[in-house]
Symmetry: C2
Subunit: 309 residues, 2 copies
Amino acid sequence: MNRRPVESRSLVYAVEEAYATQIPVGRHPVAMLDLAVPADGVDANVHPTKREIRLQRERLAFSALQQSVRATLVQTIGIPAYGEPGRRPASMPASPFAGSDVPMFPYDQSAGAWGEVDRPLLGTLRILGQVGLTYIICEGGAGLYLVDQHAAHERVVLERLERDMGRHGQSQLLLEPVVVTLPRAVRGDLDEYVAALRDLGFSAEPFGEEEVVVRAVPAALRPRHIDGVLQETHEALDEEGAGPGWRARLAVLLSCKTAVKAGQRLEVAEMQALLEQLDEANLCNTCSHGRPTAVLLSHSRLEREFGRR
Amino acid sequence: MNRRPVESRSLVYAVEEAYATQIPVGRHPVAMLDLAVPADGVDANVHPTKREIRLQRERLAFSALQQSVRATLVQTIGIPAYGEPGRRPASMPASPFAGSDVPMFPYDQSAGAWGEVDRPLLGTLRILGQVGLTYIICEGGAGLYLVDQHAAHERVVLERLERDMGRHGQSQLLLEPVVVTLPRAVRGDLDEYVAALRDLGFSAEPFGEEEVVVRAVPAALRPRHIDGVLQETHEALDEEGAGPGWRARLAVLLSCKTAVKAGQRLEVAEMQALLEQLDEANLCNTCSHGRPTAVLLSHSRLEREFGRR
C-alpha cells in the first residue's frame, strides 16, 4: 500500500472472494498487490508498528480490488495441459497494471496487453464423442481436448444464475407451486432464506414456520424436478453447515444439482450446445468447485507419449 | 546355470534377440535367468574361475531360450498407461517357471499361470475417431485408448511378413516387373540380397551387376507402389549402414515403409480393421522400432486429472 507492506484482512478477503469457485475448495491464492491510494484516504495509525491500516472508503476498495482481480483472471484463462491440472496459472501477465499509472478502478479491459490467451473456442472444436458417459472428447488445432460434462455444465448454470440475478422477468412460472422444507442449517432465518431465493430469481414465499412455497424458478435452472433439486441443495447445505457464506453457496449448490451429471448420455448436438455455452462463460476453466472443465492433451505431449520424438 | 552364476555371450544375445523390436533402439533388457542343464551337457572348464561355460548343444539352447523369452513376452503384453510409456513391463509373472520342474523347452502355454493380462481386444473397443490424422481414439471398459496408426500397422505388416516367410504360395504377382537398384550398403552381395528378398516372399532375380528385378511381392505387403517402398527401404538401409544384421532389418524397414503413415485419413472401417489385425499380432504392444502402438488413459487417471477424486 503506497509502497509500504501492510496487512489488511479486508483486502485479503477481497482476493479470496475474487478466486471463489476458481480454485479447489481448501486451496488459497497467493498474491502480491501493489496498491496506491491518496495519502488522506488511508489511516496508518491503527497499530504501533503501522503494519495495519484503515481505509477511509474500505467497501469501495474491497469491491474494486475483487473486481479487478476477477477481471484479470477472466482475461488470463487457459485450458490446463493434461497432467498438470491447476498447476499452470494460464499465461499470467508479467505486470497486469503496466506501469503504475493505470488506475485500479474501474478495471479497463483495453488497457491490459495480456499476450495471447491460449483458450480456443470450444464450440469450434470437432467433437469425437463421449467417453465413460462423463467426458466429451474433441479435437482442435493444439491436440485432444477432454471436457468434463458435469463440471462444464455446472459453470454454465452458475454464470447464468449470476447474470440473471435480480432480473425477475427471466423467471419461469411453474405449472404447480412446489413446497420445500427450509434447510435445517438456516432454521430461524426463514425470511432471509426466502429473500436469498428471490435474489436468485425464484418467486418464493414463506409457507408456515419451516416451509417455503416456490412458484417460479430462475431461467437458468430448468423447472423440471425443481423440487428434487431444491431438496438436494438443502441437504448439501445442511451437510456442509450453514455459516455466514450460505447465500453465496446457495447458487453454487443449485448449479451443481441442476447440471448434467456424469453418467448421462449426451447427443452430439447436446455436447455441441454445452461447449458453446461454456465459451460464453467468463470463468470457463473451472466448475463452481474449482475443478477443471477441460484439459488439453497437446500434440507434442502425444508425440512424446508415443516416442514420436 | 545349474545354480552357479556364469557369463555367456551366446545366451545374452538370445535374450536380446527375443526382445528385438520390443524395446526402443538403444535400450537393453535386464534379465536374470535360472537355467538347468544336464551336468554332462555343459563344460565349465573353459575359464580358470569357471565364470564362463560352453554348452554342448549351444544352438539348441540359444533358440530354446530365445523362444521361451519371447513367448513369455507375448503372454504378458499389456497396454502401457498414459504417462508411463515403456516403464511398465506389463504384468510380469512373479515366477514365470513356477517351481523348478517346469521344462524350459518347449514352452508350455498352459503351464504358466500368469495372472490376467490387461490387454483388451482392441477390435472390440468403440472407435470415437481419428485425431491429428495420426491417432485412433477408442473407448473401452478401462478408459480411453489411444492407438498410433502407423506404429500399429507397422507391427501388423511385420508379423504378417514373418508369418508368411518361406510360404511362397502367398506371393502376389506384379502386373509389370519392377527393377530396383541394389542398396549401396550391401554392394557386392547381390546374390545374398536376392536370397534375402526371396526368403521374405519376393520373387526376385539379379538383373545385371547392381540391379534386382522383382516379379512378385509377399502377400503381407501391398503391391501398389512397391518400387517406391523398395527404394525407400534401400535408402534407409544405406543411411543406417548395413552390418551383419541387415537381413533382419530388411523386414523391419519394409514393414515401416509399407505401413499407413501418420497424417493419412482413415475411415472408421479401416480403423476397425487395423485394430482387429493388431489383435491378431503376437507382439502387438510395440511397433517394430519399439514404440508403443497403444496407450491407455484409464478412468481413474482421468478422474484424478479432473479432480473427481
